[in-house]
């Protein structure tokens, strides 16, 4: 590990100790010797050279207090509410690898949530195997998984930092973490559930048999799906209204004297509610403290990389360079380009021009699919001079930026084709722009018309628009891929336009199994599944609004200094 890396490691240590928005980061409570206690909170100090940062030895603090003790005390349960930020020292490479693994996990959670009914056997087994593969805690009873629990803890907090930066990122993160938590909680035995709830101060008093018998008919008429005999079988808990707010609001529980009488099956909803409220509040708090971190040039690239990064091969290096001829592009744009690139290509052909954002997004994509610099120059020039740009102006004005993209000018950075995340999250198109993600940046009605003109069947369009509504833009694109390539399940998680292209080419050239004949029933199945999971995503409309309000509003509520 070189000195530069070591320096950044130390910066990260500092971050833990002054975790943004978190008041009780210092676990030992000694309050001694933290000379740069304010350094993350104060903007002006952030710009100074890292070498000048002063703090006591990282080894001297925290570790001896924490790691010498019983590890099991640190993480008594296989899942957590992530209430305390990590306090230990960690290497930069571990920081990054933990973050990447959690991002992979959350991506899987997202993609499983659309492809399968939550809590179905398939969903559960696929999620379990992903957790096992990435070495996150996956078995409720394993008590010797300190490493996995630590990884779970630290990686959650790293992504929290990266994903608190915009409302959209927060919403995505919250959704995936909620789904992950829901799954892991549901895997606990009743006994462990009870223990976990006590651990997070959510233990509720079960009502006595006598009281239950007395209230039986009211419990039955208040709780949908509970016949009198089912009331007798299940335990009911007395829960404060604030903890049962969604059930209370919808009159789905019996309410008496300021308490909700909640059956055991709905306790899960209450734990989830509580977790969502805590996490959304924490994200808002972290976001509020983030400007000071964002202004820190040493940390920002790392966090941006995480929130903009995709998982998968690096498409800047293409094995197929030079294997595509310019004549093929029109046909390829229809067959194998994702919608965003197809849109850009069409706009270029129609207008003989693309504005900067479009040139960057499309140019780098073309580079990624194998266009050489010479081909790129020829391609763009041919098209531009058909419009208002003459050859001379092109050579002077535009050729530079194309060479620049290929690393032949300026900082000589070999630019990487944009990932879906980058396209979705940054630089939204404005008037006259054709770049961006059509699923994210098009008016749904226009998107619908476009899909119709591309002969996507109406049921497919509905599915795509549902996904768009749920802000699953990449999954909408994945669905588009499936529909245009006549496959049931592409079998990978789509996160890069060049990945789309590569997979499409693989499929069309016979590298993948084409759709089987039984596909019809499979299709229906899939449709039902995704719709159902979409529904479960959006069932309590009001509680979704609450989440938004929490994200936005709670921040305001906790701004008191």
């Amino acid at each position: 590990m070189g000195p530069a890396v070591a320096l950044r490691v130390r910066e990260i240590d500092e971050l833990w100790w002054h975790y943004p928005g978190h008041q009780t980061a210092r676990r030992d409570g000694s309050g001694r010797g933290w000379p740069c206690a304010g350094s993350w909170g104060a903007g002006p100090g952030a710009g100074r050279p890292a070498g000048e940062m002063q703090f006591s030895s990282a080894q001297a603090r925290g570790k001896h207090l924490w790691l010498s003790g019983d590890r099991r005390q640190l993480y008594p349960h296989s899942l957590q509410f992530y209430l305390e930020p990590p306090t230990e020292d960690i290497s930069l490479s571990e920081f990054e690898s933990l973050a990447i693994d959690r991002l992979k996990l959350l991506k899987t959670v997202e993609s499983l949530g659309v492809s399968y009914v939550r809590n179905s056997d398939q969903y559960n087994s696929k999620l379990a195997s992903e957790l096992r593969k990435l070495k996150f805690p996956y078995k409720a009873l394993a008590d010797d998984d300190y490493e996995a629990r630590r990884k779970d803890h630290i990686s959650h907090f790293i992504l929290r930092l990266a994903y608190c930066q915009s409302e959209e990122l927060r919403r995505w993160f919250l959704q995936q973490e909620m789904d992950l938590f829901r799954y892991r909680f549901s895997q606990l035995t009743d006994n462990l559930m009870q223990k976990f709830m006590e651990h997070v101060d959510l233990s509720f008093e079960a009502i006595s048999e006598d009281l239950k018998n007395e209230l039986a008919s009211e419990l039955s008429t208040s709780t949908p799906g509970f016949t009198m005999s089912k009331v007798k079988e299940q335990m009911f808990y007395k829960v404060g209204l604030a903890d049962a707010v969604d059930l209370f609001r919808a009159r789905r529980v019996f309410i008496k004297d300021g308490f909700a009488y909640v059956p055991f099956k709905d306790i899960v909803a209450i734990v989830l509610n509580n977790y969502r409220a805590k996490l959304s509040k924490a994200l808002a708090l972290t976001a509020r403290s983030l400007p000071s971190i964002q202004s820190d040039e040493r940390l920002q690239p790392l966090l941006n990389h995480l929130s903009h990064s995709y998982i998968g091969p690096d498409y800047s290096v293409q094995k197929s360079t030079g294997k595509i001829s310019l004549e093929q592009i029109d046909a390829l744009s229809v067959k194998s380009f994702p919608l965003c690139m197809r849109q850009l290509h069409k706009a270029l052909r129609d207008n003989h021009h693309l504005r900067h954002g479009g040139r960057m997004q499309y140019g780098l994509f073309l580079k990624g699919i194998g266009l050489t610099l010479e081909q790129a120059l020829e391609f763009w020039k041919k098209e531009f001079i058909r419009g208002k740009v003459d050859a001379d102006k092109f050579d002077k004005g535009y050729a530079y930026s194309i060479r620049h993209n290929y690393g032949k000018e300026g900082k000589r950075t070999d630019y990487t084709p944009y990932s879906c995340m980058k396209i979705i999250m940054s630089n939204p198109p404005s008037q006259g722009d054709y770049h961006g993600c059509p699923f994210r940046h098009s008016d749904p009605e226009l998107l619908k018309q476009k899909l119709q003109s591309y002969k996507i069947p109406p049921s497919g369009i509905t599915q795509i628009l549902d996904l768009v509504k749920g802000m699953h833009y990449q999954l909408a694109c994945q669905k588009y891929f499936e529909l245009t390539h006549d496959v049931d399940d592409i079998g990978f998680s789509l996160n890069h336009p060049n990945q789309y292209f590569t997979e499409s080419q693989k499929l069309l050239s016979g590298g993948r199994e084409p759709k089987k004949e039984v596909s019809n029933s499979g299709n229906t199945q899939q449709k039902n599944n995704s719709q159902e999971s979409m529904n479960s995503n959006s069932t309590p409309t009001s509680s979704n609004t609450t989440t938004d309000a929490e994200l936005e509003g709670l921040e305001a509520y906790f701004t008191e200094d």
Partner: protein, 418 residues
């Protein structure tokens, strides 16, 4: 009783704030026992002055300071807002975003204008003895749920001074409720949904939640006298068609042909009810139970709450004992023991009260001399018809103080165990 003239307000308000407004009980109420430091000082008041000049974010160091200010500027209207993180009158000096509402009573605002689609006697701001029953029902339904379901204790119900009622739920715990919990409460308490484009605004299906069952029980007590006799909702083909539009097709046609044969609304209702109840008796044997009678009762009588007033912690609501600038009536507390007898038109106006003072003052001028100002004031309102209403506020405050003492005692007893 002297008729009220809005033009006389500049002359009457100084008398009102000096000799009639119950400053003492009012200050005791909003200080909440002084247990929380600065609670009164952090409270927003807002005043409407002459010509709709609106002053927000007023706050005062003590009830006495508020009293002096009221007597100085004589506002046309007083609104009460939230308890804030910082003194509201200093909100401009606080770091942006740091000034936040923290607590407030849970409030409900029920306004007669929201019932225009179901009352035939009046519309918009007008009320009469007939439709006032809707407010009585609203108070009974909501108050029952507040006490029995939500377990709250301290509710101050107030006549708004014109066409509606307000409720102030003052329990310590409730004042801390989040907007989400307040909104959830309003949703729990709401059954009538949809606007002008919705014909059927109440839809019930099994299982019927106890809240609905009990609310129907409350409405039932008033329904005959109010809706069948008073509003005569089945009195003519035009009005019964409106009701039958809420009934499922299979019952509508038979009822339509039977209704003309009956004498009045009461008989027609009996017919409808009987028919629908039979479907419920037959339920379980394949028939779908129909609750059209309940749905009609609820659509015509169930309280219609304004969610925005209740949800926002920072939302303002007209203060009790504020004068309504249009009617001159004082916003007075309602006595739930005698709610059914409450007559909004009998509520004293600022002019009638001042007139009463004049009359009483002439009679007792002699004995008053030599007494101190506050003492005289206490006796002043007692000479008027405002007295029983002030007594209601005092009783409300005393009840809260008693509860607080009980709580303190309970806590010290618990500590005594050690």
């Amino acid at each position: 009783m002297a008729p009220f003239e809005p033009a006389a307000l500049p002359e009457l308000l100084p008398v009102f704030y000096r000799r009639l407004f119950p400053h003492g009980a009012y200050g005791r109420w909003l200080s909440y026992g002084g247990a929380v430091k600065n609670y009164f000082q952090l409270r927003e008041f807002s005043f409407t002055l002459r010509d709709d000049v609106y002053l927000r974010f007023q706050s005062f160091g003590s009830p006495q300071e508020l009293e002096r200010e009221l007597q100085r500027i004589n506002p046309y209207k007083i609104d009460i807002g939230a308890v804030y993180s910082h003194r509201p009158n200093q909100h401009n000096t606080v770091h942006l975003g740091a000034f936040q509402p923290q607590e407030k009573e849970l409030v409900f605002d029920i306004d007669m204008t929201d019932y225009d689609d179901v009352r035939t006697c009046c519309s918009s701001a007008d009320i009469c003895a007939k439709c006032w029953t809707l407010m009585t029902i609203a108070v009974r339904v909501i108050d029952r749920a507040l006490v029995e379901d939500l377990g709250v204790r301290h509710r101050l119900w107030v006549y708004s001074g014109r066409r509606g009622v307000h409720c102030w739920v003052c329990d310590d715990a409730v004042r801390k409720w989040s907007p989400a919990l307040r909104a959830a409460t309003v949703e729990y308490l709401s059954l009538v949904k949809g606007g002008a484009e919705t014909v059927k605004k109440v839809n019930l299906c099994e299982p019927i939640h106890p809240f609905i069952r009990r609310s129907v029980g409350v409405v039932e007590k008033y329904f005959k006298a109010y809706a069948l006799v008073g509003q005569d909702i089945l009195g003519s083909p035009e009005s019964w068609d409106k009701v039958l539009a809420l009934v499922p097709d299979e019952h509508r046609e038979p009822l339509q042909s039977e209704f003309p044969k009956k004498r009045d609304s009461v008989q027609r209702w009996a017919l409808l009810k009987d028919r629908v109840e039979r479907t419920r008796a037959a339920a379980g044997k394949g028939a779908t139970p129909c609750y059209a009678d309940w749905e009609i009762m609820l659509q015509y009588c169930f309280p219609r709450l304004d969610i925005n007033v209740s949800k926002g912690v920072g939302h303002l609501l007209k203060s009790p004992f504020s004068v309504h600038p249009k009617t001159g009536r004082v916003s007075v507390p309602l006595d739930l023991q005698r709610l059914d007898q409450f007559d909004p038109f009998a509520v004293p106006t600022i002019s009638s009260l001042c007139h009463e003072l004049d009359t009483a003052g002439d009679a007792g001028e002699q004995e008053d001399s030599g007494e101190t100002e506050p003492k005289r004031r206490v006796r002043d309102y007692k000479k008027t018809s405002l007295a029983p209403y002030v007594r209601l506020l005092e009783q409300f405050v005393e009840e809260m103080e008693r509860a607080r003492r009980g709580e303190r005692l309970r806590r010290s007893d618990l500590q005594g165990d050690f």
